[in-house]
Symmetry: C3
Subunit: 371 residues, 3 copies
Amino acid sequence: MEKQSTRLGVGLGLLITAFLITGLLGFSLTGRGSEQVLASSAGTKAQVRNFKLYVRDTTLKMPDGKQIYVFGYTDDPQGPAKIPGPVLTVNEGDTVNLTLVNDKDPTKTSFNPDGDGHTIHLHGLDLPSAMDGDPMTSPTQDSVKEGSQYTYHFVAKEAGTYWYHCHESATEHIQMGMYGAFIVLPRGGDTHYAYAGTPRFDKSYTLVLSDMDSGAHQQDYTNLHSGGDNPNWTQYRPDYFLMNGHAWPDIMDDPSSFIQATVGQHLLVRLINCGYTVHAIHSHGFHFTVIATDGRKLSDPYQKDTLLLAPGERYDILFDLNQAGRYMFHDHIEQNTTNNGDYPGGMMTFINVNNPDGSNPVPMSSLHMNG
Amino acid sequence: MEKQSTRLGVGLGLLITAFLITGLLGFSLTGRGSEQVLASSAGTKAQVRNFKLYVRDTTLKMPDGKQIYVFGYTDDPQGPAKIPGPVLTVNEGDTVNLTLVNDKDPTKTSFNPDGDGHTIHLHGLDLPSAMDGDPMTSPTQDSVKEGSQYTYHFVAKEAGTYWYHCHESATEHIQMGMYGAFIVLPRGGDTHYAYAGTPRFDKSYTLVLSDMDSGAHQQDYTNLHSGGDNPNWTQYRPDYFLMNGHAWPDIMDDPSSFIQATVGQHLLVRLINCGYTVHAIHSHGFHFTVIATDGRKLSDPYQKDTLLLAPGERYDILFDLNQAGRYMFHDHIEQNTTNNGDYPGGMMTFINVNNPDGSNPVPMSSLHMNG
Amino acid sequence: MEKQSTRLGVGLGLLITAFLITGLLGFSLTGRGSEQVLASSAGTKAQVRNFKLYVRDTTLKMPDGKQIYVFGYTDDPQGPAKIPGPVLTVNEGDTVNLTLVNDKDPTKTSFNPDGDGHTIHLHGLDLPSAMDGDPMTSPTQDSVKEGSQYTYHFVAKEAGTYWYHCHESATEHIQMGMYGAFIVLPRGGDTHYAYAGTPRFDKSYTLVLSDMDSGAHQQDYTNLHSGGDNPNWTQYRPDYFLMNGHAWPDIMDDPSSFIQATVGQHLLVRLINCGYTVHAIHSHGFHFTVIATDGRKLSDPYQKDTLLLAPGERYDILFDLNQAGRYMFHDHIEQNTTNNGDYPGGMMTFINVNNPDGSNPVPMSSLHMNG
C-alpha cells in the first residue's frame, strides 16, 4: 500500500487514450460486447475474447485452521477473491479484451483513503507499454483506481503458459493474492498439443504455485484497517505453500490440483511459480520431459524428476504415465511440504494413475493422509 | 516426529502383501540370500544385489566443535548412523533387494512411544507405488515400524545418479540425516562411462551435498528425549554445509570428497543435492561439461563453471584436467562456505591435480588452511 | 576479517616467485609498462593490457537515505572504492597484467592490526593456481597484505563474461563490495558479437547484480573500528538489491544500468550475479534469447522472459527490440524490488526503446516513479 494522490477519470477516457497512444493494433476490431469471430491468416477462426476481472478480498482457511487475509481477482462480482484468479484460456491469434473493473477496492480504507488501485500485467505476453499493466509506464501514469476500469487489449500471438498479476505496489499486491494463469492454446484451440510440434497429450493440468507469509498478511490487514507499518518485505518468510491456492491435504479436494489419469495416458502439466521463493518440483514414479519454458518451446527437450522454478518462471512438462499407482508430486524443498512446519502439508499433490478398468494398486480408501 | 497409532505386524507379512499387491515384477527372481547372476537381454551378466540398511543415531562433530544430533542409515548394525548413508552402487539391469531393517528405531522414545518408523524412497528410480517408500501410498499404509522390516525390490533400469531417503515424516527425517547416494553404472558395470554414449572418464567422485540447522537438530533431540515442540521447519536456517557429511576443513581428510587426480585425466563428479536449500557449485581452474541431470543423459551437453542445484536435483559433470595445481571447488553462495559464519568452512573441497611424477605446483605442505 | 600473522615481503619478490613457480606462460612477454601489441596466431593484433587496482572503502548511499559501509576495488588511487569495481575489458588473445596494489588496506585497523590483505580471483578464467587469487593455494600462501602488490598475469583465452572478486576472507570481502565485471571481447575486439558465431548486436550492457545486508555491513564496520564480533554470515538477510551498485530509482541516473536503445536494434545484456542469493530477472515487453552462460556459448540457445541466476553465474542474453516503449527489467523475487521493504526499489531498471526519431510512446516526463 502506497500513498498516491492522483485520482483518475472514468474508464472510457482511459480506453480511448490507450488506443490513441499505442497505435499498435494492426487489424480492425469488429466488436467487443461479446465474442466475435475473425478470419485469421491460417484459415482457422480467431475470436474476440472478452474477460472482466474484479478485485475483492477474502480469507483463506489453511488445513491447520490458520486464516490468511488475501485480496485478489475474481470474474464474479458477487463473490470473494479467487486465489489464484480464474484461469484465462484463449487460442493463439485471438483478440483479447481483458477489463479490470475497480468498482470496490479492498485497499481503499479509512487508513488508505485513496486506495492503491490495481493493474493487470500479462507476464510473458510482451505487450506494448500501454497494455503492460506497469503503472510506471502506463499512459495514465497510474494504476486503475476505484471508480475506474481499464481494458487490456491485445492479440495473443504465441501459444504457451503465461500468467497475470497486479503491478501496482507489486511486492505487496502479488503476495496478497493478485495472480492467475493465462493459457494460450495453439491456433484453433487444440487441447492435445501445447505448441505446434510438441508431442500429443491426453489431459492437462495447470498448477499455480505460490507461497505466503501469514504474519505479513496479518500485518498488511492491520495496516489497511487499523493503521501501522507495512510489512518489511525483505524479511519475507513463508509458512504456507500452495498449489492452485490450496495446501495439502486440501489439495486432494481440488480437482484442478489432484491429478487423475489412466495408465497409458500422456499428461501435460503447466507449472507457474507465482511465489516469492524458488520451488523444486519432484515427481515420484516418473521422470518427465521438459518441453517448454516461459511460453516458448524448447528445441531440445530434456528429462528431469526434480525441476527448479524461479519466481515468475513457467515450465511445461509431459508425463508418459506408464505405470498405475498413486504418486507424490511435490516441492522437494522439504520445509515447503509442511503447513507452518507440520509435515505433511503445503505444496504437495498426487498423480493418481488408474488401470483402464478404474482400479488402482493403491486404493484411495487406503491413502494414508498423515504422512 | 509425528504421532502415529498404527502398529504394524512383522516384516514377512508385509513382504508377501507387497508382492501380491504390486503384481509388477515381470521376471523370475532366482534367489535373494546372496548375489545371483541373471542372464540379461544384452548378453552381459545382470546380478541380484542384496543390501540391508539399519537406522541408528549419532552425533556429528563439526570442525568448530559444534555437535549435531543426527539419525540416518547404516549398513553396519553394530555401528552408528552414517551421514550420508553408504553409497549403493549397482549395474544397469541388476535386480535389487534393498531391505530396511527397523530393529532399533532412534525415534522410539518414551516421549514418542510408537516411534515414527522409516522408509526408503529411491528418488529418481520411478518405482511403482508399493516400492516407492512413500508411507502414504505404501500397501501397508504406513512406514516400517520398529520390529519390522521391508524389502524394496526392483530392477535398476537406467544408468545414472540417484539417491535414497526416508519419506516418513520426510521434512524431519531427511534433515536429520536419512539420505545417501544410489548409483547405477551402465550395463556391465563399466567404471569409465556414466551413460552409454557419454565421454570416457578416468576417475569419479560422488558428492552428496547437504545443509543442517544445528538449532533445529537440537530441538528435535529434545523433542524426542525430553518432550517439547518439534522445530517449525518453515523457520529452517542452516548453519553447517556439508559434502559427504563433512564440512571444510574436515573434508580434506575424507578421500571420497577431497579430489585427487593427475593432469590429463578426465574426471566425473556426480553432484547430489540432499539439502533443503539451493547450492551453486563453482570450480576454480576449469570449466566442466554438464552431461546429465537426474539420471538422464543430456542430448546437448553444455559448459559451466558455476552450477545451481535445487534440493533433490543431481548433475553429472565432466572435467578435462588440463593443468596441474590445486583448485577450490565450492558453493558460491558464500555464506555456505563457513562453519556457523566463520570462513573458510562448509561446502568446500579441492581438486588436486598432480603432475604425472606426483609433484604439484602447490605443495600440500603449503596449503594455507585458514583462508 | 580474520587474524593472520604472516607478513609478506615486497611485491617484486612475489612477482618473480610467481613466474618461476607457474612456468605456464607459453609466449614471450615483450613489455609491461604500457600496452604492447603482439602478433597472434589469428592474424589480428593481440595486446598486452595492464591494469592496476587499489582497495579503498566508502559509504554507499541508498535511495531511502540508508548509508552502507563498503570496501572494494578502484582504479583511481585518489578516489573511494567503486562498487562494483571498474569493468575490465580485453580482447580474446590479449595478455593481461592485472596488478593489485595494497597500499592502504581498509581492513587494517587498530582492532585488526595485520589487516586481512586481499586478492583478485578471476572467476571463470580458469587460471593456474599461482594466478588464481585463492590465498589457500597461492605460491605465497597468503593474500596480498598492506605494503605489497601482486600481478595476476595471464592470457585471456576465451571470449565471454567473467568477473573478479577478492578471495581473502571471501564471505566477508565479496559481500563488502570487492567484485567487478571482467569482459573478454572476441578476437580483434569486435563490439557487435559476444562470441564467434552468435548473432550480431547493436548495443551491449553489463549488469552486475548484488545484494547487501546493511546490518551485517554495519557490524563489520564496528568489528573493524571498535571491536566486537564479526557478523554470522549464515544469518545473512539482504535488504538492498543492486544493479551496478545502485538501487532503484538511482539506477535511472546511471547510464550503465538504464538501458537506452532504438526500435529495431539488437541488444546484448551480460548478467552477472555477484550477490549471495539467487535472482530471477524478468523483462517486460520482450522475451530474450539466452546465448551463453559462464563465458561459454550455448550450442542450443533458448528463449526466456524470466531467468534465474545463481550466485557466481553469468548469462549473456540477446533482445530483439521490436517495439518502442519503456519496459521494466527487474528481479521477480518481488521482495528484491524494494529498498528495505519499500516498493518500488532495489533490483529494477528499464529498457527504454525509442522510435527512430527519438520519440517514445511513454515520454520520460511521464514516468511514474512511485510504482
